[in-house]
């Protein structure tokens, strides 16, 4: 490990702001909330800078805290009884040029309808390209649970996509071959 590595806060923000923001946004489906979470995560990083040992450690730490803060935010909103799933179509003030492909936007919209653990596993799997083992370490969950969440989440998302995105996704009879083993 890079023992002589000196963390540079600004550089870490530059490198990882997109990752942290995207994780928070896909977890909460709320752009404003995602920005708040991203700010909180980086400010927390600032107070933990002395404990960060390497760039990999920083990346792992940021992913873990971003997911944890997003889950906290979702819990708080549930407690307050706010209907979380505000239409992502509105993009909450996102400029039009930021909008991705229509299929991407629709898949993201469908993702927000999945249960939180499945959503978390899928986001880490397909956004961050993590293996189930890495996802388990990031979410501090058992590996079997993560694999199960990946399987079920993928199956559910696929089923929803088949119903809602007929123009984009070819319907299939079975979903048994889901790649959840990394």
């Amino acid at each position: 490990m890079a023992r002589n590595w000196q963390p540079d806060f600004e550089r870490l923000v530059d490198e990882h702001q997109s990752m942290v923001f995207s994780l928070a946004w896909r977890m909460t489906a709320d752009r404003g909330l995602a920005e708040e979470i991203a700010q909180d995560v980086f400010l927390e990083l600032d107070t933990h800078m002395t404990r960060i040992e390497s760039p990999q450690h920083a990346l792992f730490w940021l992913r873990r805290v971003a997911m944890s803060r997003s889950a906290d935010a979702l819990r708080r909103r549930r407690v307050r009884g706010v209907d979380l799933w505000i239409e992502i179509e509105e993009s909450h003030g996102a400029p039009q040029e930021e909008r991705f492909s229509p299929l991407g936007a629709r898949l993201e919209q469908l993702l927000t309808t999945l249960p939180e653990p499945q959503r978390a596993a899928l986001v880490l799997r397909y956004q961050e390209d993590l293996t189930p083992e890495e996802i388990a370490a990031t979410l501090e969950s058992p590996l079997a649970t993560v694999k199960s969440n990946l399987q079920r989440g993928l199956k559910l998302l696929r089923a929803k996509a088949e119903c809602n995105l007929k123009d984009y996704v070819r319907p299939g009879k079975s979903l048994g071959g889901a790649r959840a083993d990394g």
Binding site: F9, E10, V13, D14, Q17, S18, M19, V20, F21, S22, W25, R26, R31, E35, A38, Q39, F42, L43, D46, E98, F100, S101, L103, G104, L107, E108, L122, V123, Y126, Q127, D129, A144, K147, S148, Q151, L154, K155, L157, R158, A161, Y168, V169, R170, G172, K173, S174, L175, G176, G177, A178, R179, A180, D181
Partner: protein, 117 residues
């Protein structure tokens, strides 16, 4: 974990792989909002400034406490010394008065002795 086992039908696997690749394309990282970094750095600076100010306030309070304690201690010490000084002066006065009385009594005694002779 039966679902993890690959099945023999190739078509659904291909479809799932296709779906997964669609997911991977759909879930690319979104660019952070333009002002996010600036806001983070601003907030960090505000926090640092606030921490610096709170540290200054803490030191000011500590200094004020120290001055107050020193003044209180000085006052108490001064009062103690002053009481001691006054006590000593009173003792000296009493001794002087006793000496004068003693002297006067001795004189009276001497006069009486002269008269008795």
């Amino acid at each position: 974990m039966d679902e993890l086992k690959p099945i023999n039908e190739p078509e659904p696997i291909d479809r799932m792989n296709e779906f997964e690749s669609q997911l991977q394309q759909a879930f690319v990282r979104r660019p952070a909002p333009p002002g996010l970094k600036r806001r983070i750095l601003d907030q960090r600076n505000r926090r640092l400034t606030a921490r610096f100010h709170s540290r200054i306030v803490l030191w000011q309070r500590l200094a004020a406490c120290f001055v107050l304690a020193a003044a209180l201690g000085g006052g108490l010490t001064w009062r103690h010394v002053e009481e001691q000084r006054k006590g000593e002066a009173a003792r000296v006065q009493v001794i002087t008065a006793l000496r004068i009385t003693n002297h006067a009594l001795n004189e009276v005694k001497a006069r009486l002795a002269v008269r008795d002779e």
